[in-house]
């Protein structure tokens, strides 16, 4: 994503047109992040707008030489989503709920090349959304966004062991579902 520094400066100074242009530029990237963490599109747009507000408010802190803009806004978006999730305070109940999920382990190993050909990103997003919310967040953070268990435990207020458990649970679930998906696809 190559953005004109003048555009960023204008957006930072409150120029609505520049902000609109920045919003259009960032929209796909941020939406992709939100869709992985949120349940539906409306939820994702709401989270995206909140994240964009934070981006505008913190544009003055962005250092072009140190971090790529794409990585910077992605990180802000993830933090926003996690903050909102934490504020909802429903995750504790949902965590209890996840313990009752049946853990299905595939009998045969998955052929990843075949899965790669048959499953697109939208399929995978749908699979991720089927996971329990907390497990979905932890797996997203760990497997796709590259957070460590320590960071996840800090972000979500849980122990590292719990974080590992969520990742393990997500792996098992996803493998089972992927196998079913590409077999039926």
């Amino acid at each position: 994503m190559n953005l004109d520094p003048q555009l960023l400066l204008a957006a930072q100074n409150g120029d609505r047109k520049a902000q609109s242009a920045l919003y259009r530029s960032c929209f796909p990237l941020l939406m992709a992040v939100c869709m992985r963490y949120r349940r539906d599109k409306q939820d994702a747009v709401s989270a995206l707008n909140n994240g964009f507000l934070k981006i505008i408010q913190n544009l003055d802190k962005y250092k072009r030489d140190e971090v790529p803009f794409e990585a910077w806004i992605r990180r802000i978006m993830i933090n926003t989503v996690i903050d909102e999730f934490r504020r909802e305070k429903k995750w504790r109940e949902l965590t209890v709920f996840t313990e009752h999920i049946e853990r299905a382990f595939p009998d045969e190993p998955i052929d990843w090349n075949e899965a790669d050909q048959r499953l697109d990103v939208q399929h995978l997003e749908a699979l991720l959304r089927r996971l329990p919310p907390m497990t979905q967040k932890v797996f997203n953070l760990f497997a796709i966004d590259g957070f460590s268990h320590h960071e996840i435990s800090d972000l979500l207020g849980m122990s590292e062991g719990t974080s590992k458990w969520h990742v393990s649970n997500a792996r098992a679930q996803l493998q089972s579902w992927i196998k079913t998906e590409y077999q039926t696809a």
């Binding site: 609505r16 995206l48 497997a143």
Partner: protein
């Protein structure tokens, strides 16, 4: 790919979200609404900060600076106050008072004692040449006017002098007109040249030339064509009615009347309600619960107060406790009436009145015995009735009003020390003894302004600055300024029902 983590990461990294997520204008409108709301909020925060700074400055003003010294210097203010304080004093004559007001005046020239402020102004502002010309014209007019000038004419002369001294200002035209009219009426032959001499234009010079003829002729024979500016008949402008512009504002003794406190200006953005169509999942600001639809409220109020240092002991901490009743006029405004006891710290009366220390020492053949009494004023107790108007917005409220108070008691502490050659010194302290109330003003009036924040439906925190216009003591002695008293308060209000 070895496991699902790599598989997922690779799939999402290679994904191009541009194709999947199509931008819609509706999304940007939602984001724009959010941005606007945040900007409004930030702007409001700036206003609140400015208000806070203003309030802090006001509080600092109440605490640190003396009240309303006005345009005069401090020494001058003290002189005035001492003059006003000693107004009832029989020893001080009128000449002394006028001399206090007309300081640096070499020649007061106030023979009839009617104007004390006008003459020095003339001395200061009038050039010497004008003075001389006035004197010259006065001598000339004495030869022309045969009849003795009446008292009114003398007053008019004084007034015209005052007019003449303002001739340099914008009032020159008016002065010239008045002088000419008086010349035409034949009542005053002195002021016209003086006034005209203060007017540097040619018309003024022509008037000067015409003056002598106008003086010589009777008023009915003065042709109007020779003096075009004269439009008003002389009878409509009697010479006694000297306009108030004759006294320049610079030397009027300014009374130190404090300006009334006003409510803080409410910034426009703070009044803009949140737009209802803004879509947001969670409100940014905490929504306060609406107040019950109740007109009357009644409760307790208690506050700690910091006063301007009152005496040499440096006591400053006071308090106020009482009851209040509030009547809500409409959604934002309400009236509040209260009754409370107020403790004002310090304010020991002057030595000659009631609070001396006393020592008695007796000598015996076997030694001595010494008794020492010391009385000290700890503070004053007042019954106060505050009345204020309040403006509310959400949990915040601003209030301003006035309060009347009555002195209930003077709280003294007495220290009694007895010491003798046979036993060590023994000190007894009584902290609550009643003192003499005579040296103090029995009633007072004060004004206050402040803010209130409602913590919940019952309790609110309030902070306000108060200034008591009536001095605490009746007099501090000759030449000592006896001013009002300022304080700031921080306290709680608890609504009972």
């Amino acid at each position: 790919m070895e496991n699902i983590d790599d598989f997922m990461r690779q799939k999402f990294d290679s994904d191009d979200p541009q194709e999947r997520f199509e931008f819609q204008e509706e999304y940007w409108e939602q984001a724009q609404a959010l941005l606007e709301r945040e900007e409004n909020r930030r702007r409001r925060r700036v206003w609140y900060f400015l208000l806070l700074v203003l309030a802090m400055a006001l509080l600092a003003w109440f605490l640190v600076l003396p009240w309303g010294d006005g345009a005069l210097s401090e020494n001058k203010g003290k002189e005035e106050q001492s003059t006003f304080l000693s107004e009832n004093s029989e020893n001080q004559s009128a000449e002394q008072r006028s001399s206090a007001l007309t300081e640096n005046t070499e020649n007061p020239a106030n023979t009839n004692g009617k104007t004390t402020m006008g003459e020095p102004t003339m001395k200061l502002s009038e050039p010497e040449s004008v003075e001389e010309s006035i004197q010259r014209e006065r001598n000339r007019s004495a030869s022309f006017v045969s009849e003795k000038p009446s008292k009114g004419t003398q007053q008019n002369r004084v007034g015209n002098k005052s007019l003449a001294k303002t001739g340099k200002s914008d009032n020159a035209g008016g002065v010239a007109r008045l002088s000419d009219e008086q010349v035409a009426a034949g009542r005053n032959t002195i002021s016209s040249p003086a006034a005209q001499s203060a007017r540097p234009d040619q018309a003024g010079q022509k008037k000067i030339e015409n003056t002598s003829s106008a003086i010589a002729n009777p008023p009915t024979t003065t042709p109007p064509i020779t003096n075009p500016p004269i439009t008003t008949p002389p009878i409509t402008n009697p010479p006694i009615t000297t306009p108030p512009i004759t006294t320049p504002p610079a030397l009027i003794p300014t009374f130190n009347i404090p300006t009334p406190l006003t409510l803080f200006p409410i910034p426009e953005p703070a009044l803009v309600p949140l737009k209802p169509w803004i879509l947001a999942k969670e409100p940014i600001a905490k929504i306060t619960k609406p107040v019950k639809n109740q007109r009357f409220a009644f409760g307790l109020t208690m506050a700690g107060a910091a006063y301007q240092s009152s005496d040499t002991m440096g006591r400053w901490a006071g308090w106020a406790i009482g009851l209040f009743g509030k009547y809500r006029l409409n959604k934002n405004w309400s009236l509040m009436l209260g009754i409370q006891e107020r403790f004002v710290p310090g304010f020991g009366a002057p030595v000659e009145s009631s609070n001396p220390g006393e020592t008695v020492q007796l000598r015996y053949s076997f030694g001595f015995k010494r008794e020492e009494w010391k009385r000290e004023t700890r503070g004053l107790h007042y019954l106060e009735i505050p009345l204020s108007a309040q403006w509310h917005k959400g949990p915040w409220g601003l209030e301003a009003g006035g309060a009347g108070g009555m002195l209930l008691a003077v709280q003294n502490s007495t220290t009694y020390t007895v010491e003798s050659s046979l036993e060590a010194a023994k000190t007894t302290v009584k902290k609550f003894t009643k003192g003499d109330t005579k040296p103090y003003n029995q009633t007072y009036f004060s004004g206050f302004a402040g803010a209130e924040y409602r913590l919940n439906n019952r309790i609110s925190v309030m902070a306000r600055g108060q200034y008591r216009f009536t001095p605490v003591l009746k007099s501090l002695g000759e030449g000592v300024a006896n001013k009002g008293l300022g304080n700031v308060e921080l306290g709680l209000r608890a609504r009972l029902f």
